[in-house]
């Protein structure tokens, strides 16, 4: 697992679509530009949805990593 300086860590495992994305959106809203949020999701749709949303919203996807049956998305607030 790559190490990043993470400002906010969210464990959204067990939450169904669109739960993990909503948690990420909320966390990024509450963050400053440049801060990094990591969200852990076990929802299979997240693998497509989160990168898609991050691109659309103009943020930066630093990493997508498998983490014991869940996926960890590391996102930097870019605007």
């Amino acid at each position: 697992m790559t190490e990043f300086a993470i400002d906010r860590q969210i464990d959204a495992r067990g939450s169904a679509c669109p739960g993990p994305l909503m948690e990420l959106i909320r966390a990024l809203k509450a963050s400053e530009v440049g801060q990094v949020v990591a969200v852990l999701s076990s929802d299979q749709g997240s693998k497509v949805d989160i990168p898609e949303w991050v691109a659309k919203a103009g943020h930066k996807l630093l990493a997508v990593e498998e983490d014991g049956g869940a996926t960890r998305f590391v996102v930097q607030k870019a605007r």
Binding site: G14, S15, A16, C17, P18, G19, L21, M22, I25, R26, D49, E52, W53, K56, A57
Partner: protein, 155 residues
């Protein structure tokens, strides 16, 4: 004295958001949940989401109805899955449909309209409905909004 007229062109007029229009007719938890999830997706992708509540969906939007066990119905053809679905909601894996709509409104441009005809039919007023409802609209008004939608759904 000279008068200056300034015309402000908003970002919205220059580049209007793609629209998602949902005609929400069903009042069962499964279909209301589907509408809530889809509206969230539309809002997250920066679409203008307009929902037209008619018939059974409008009755489901009466204040407090979403929490009333007597009104928690699943579509008859999927009744066997009702316990599984309710358990998923109870465990907070799936959020209650009203909360999904509320959150969709928080993150994006989501408008929820009550069908005027159904309001009259059931003797309802705007204040009888949950506060997520933006206003009352007739079918023509909604169709006018929906006519250039990128995504149109009847649920």
């Amino acid at each position: 004295m000279t008068e200056t007229t300034t015309t402000t062109i908003t970002e919205q007029e220059l580049c209007p958001k793609p629209k998602m229009s949902i005609i929400l007719y069903s009042g069962t938890v499964d279909k209301l949940t589907a509408a809530g999830v889809l509206a969230t997706g539309g809002a997250a992708m920066d679409m203008e989401v307009n929902i037209f509540l008619t018939f059974w969906a409008l009755l489901a939007m009466k204040k407090g109805a979403w929490q009333d066990p007597a009104q928690q119905k699943i579509s008859a053809e999927f009744a066997e899955y009702a316990p599984m679905m309710m358990e998923a909601v109870r465990q907070n894996k799936v959020k209650p449909w009203l909360q999904l709509l509320r959150e969709a409104k928080e993150i994006g441009d989501v408008n929820i309209y009550a069908c005027g005809m159904t309001m009259d039919l059931f003797g309802l007023r705007l204040e009888d409905l949950e506060d997520v409802v933006t206003g009352i609209q007739g079918v023509t008004g909604f169709v006018a909004k929906a006519k250039d939608s990128a995504v149109t759904l009847f649920i």
